[in-house]
Amino acid sequence: MNQAEAILMGLRIWGSIGAVVAAIFLTIGMDRIDEDAREAYIFRPLLIPGVLVIWPLVLWRWYLYEGGRDQWARRYDPPRRAHFAVGWLLPIGICLIILAGLSQRQTWPADLAPVQLSAPAEVSQ
């Protein structure tokens, strides 16, 4: 299995698990944790693509709601605390990626001349 096949396999596994989570959460879980969503179905297919991508977060949030441990007022504290660091890390990271890419570029081997290793065997028609 080469790198591309491994990446594709990983995406398939991730998406397959996400599809199972989406099927269960959107048919059973949502009614259990959000009373405003009960008997409302049209919007649910719109959530499928999102659930396929962030299904671990969906499961975690579902787990917290089920246990009654969700503290909605503090839900956004972690991302708020990380804003300053992420705000610096993101541009620095982008610059480092570009610099790494430029520094790793190959140089056209203009000085490598063709070398004849053996003479031709015969002339064909």
């Binding site: 490598l112 063709p114 031709p120 064909s124």
Partner: protein, 252 residues
């Protein structure tokens, strides 16, 4: 509210205390982005002058069809742009080949018609659809000579010949690798760009070691600067490289 507590609101005039800062941020932001964009652009390789030559108009020439297995036309009756004696690589529209149409005509005299792609000494003909693109021509096909040039070790880059000749800009390099591999999967003729000319030509049509299509392992090396070995032969003014995939090496 003191000057120190000035607060910017988009739909109100900017507070005096913030005007200098806002102006500096605007100038730095715009000039910084422009400079960054310029630096990235300057760092890119020159895409070259390859292009579809629609200005030549539709080209129609006659010659002998050869399969390497990629279809070639050894031109016997040319025109102003494609002289007799020239060897023309053939491709279909988009990322397709013309093998289905060329195989029945192998070794025979045929008339081909299409639009030319040209990049310096490298060219290719994108054929029209069906028999408008290639059809048998009257007359006996003359014998065409293939001259073996021996085994060579070369350095350079494996590209898809169509994009390299001008279908894409850039038509080579890492930024073009995915496109090149899709073209090669479509059996568009692959071309090796040598660092220096081999027997007068820096472009060589690449085939597998047994005269088959480009081996699958070579796809991983497309668009990188590599060295390889293989048997080189001359068909008219075109060189064909039968690459040995076991000798492929990525250069530093």
């Amino acid at each position: 509210m003191s000057e120190k507590d000035s607060f910017f609101v988009g739909y109100l005039p900017a507070p005096k205390a913030l005007r200098g800062l806002l102006l500096a941020v605007c100038v730095l932001f715009v000039s910084g982005l422009a400079g960054f964009g310029l630096a990235l652009g300057v760092a890119q390789d020159d895409p070259g002058d390859g292009a579809f030559r629609f200005d030549y108009g539709r080209q129609t020439v006659t010659g002998v069809v050869e399969l390497t297995p990629y279809p070639l036309l050894r031109v016997t009756e040319g025109n102003e742009q494609i002289p007799a004696g020239h060897t023309l690589m053939l491709a279909g529209g988009g990322k397709t080949n013309v093998e289905d149409r060329a195989i029945p005509l192998e070794g025979q005299l045929a008339q081909v018609s299409g639009v030319m792609l040209q990049r310096g000494a490298l060219d290719m003909l994108q054929l029209r659809g069906g028999t408008n693109g290639i059809q048998a021509a009257e007359g006996a096909a003359p014998e065409m000579e293939t001259i073996p040039l021996g085994r060579w070790k070369l350095a350079g880059e494996i590209c898809d010949g169509k994009c390299l000749a001008g279908a894409m800009r850039p038509g080579r390099g890492l930024a073009h690798k995915a496109c090149a591999n899709l073209c090669l999967l479509g059996k568009v003729p692959p071309v090796f760009v040598s660092t220096q000319p081999v027997d007068g030509s820096e472009y060589l049509l690449v085939t597998g070691p047994d005269g088959g299509h480009l081996p699958e392992i070579a796809y991983h090396y497309v668009a990188q600067y590599v060295s390889l070995e293989g048997e080189v032969e001359r068909r008219g003014d075109l060189l064909v490289l039968r690459m040995d995939p076991d000798t492929l090496e990525v250069l530093p």
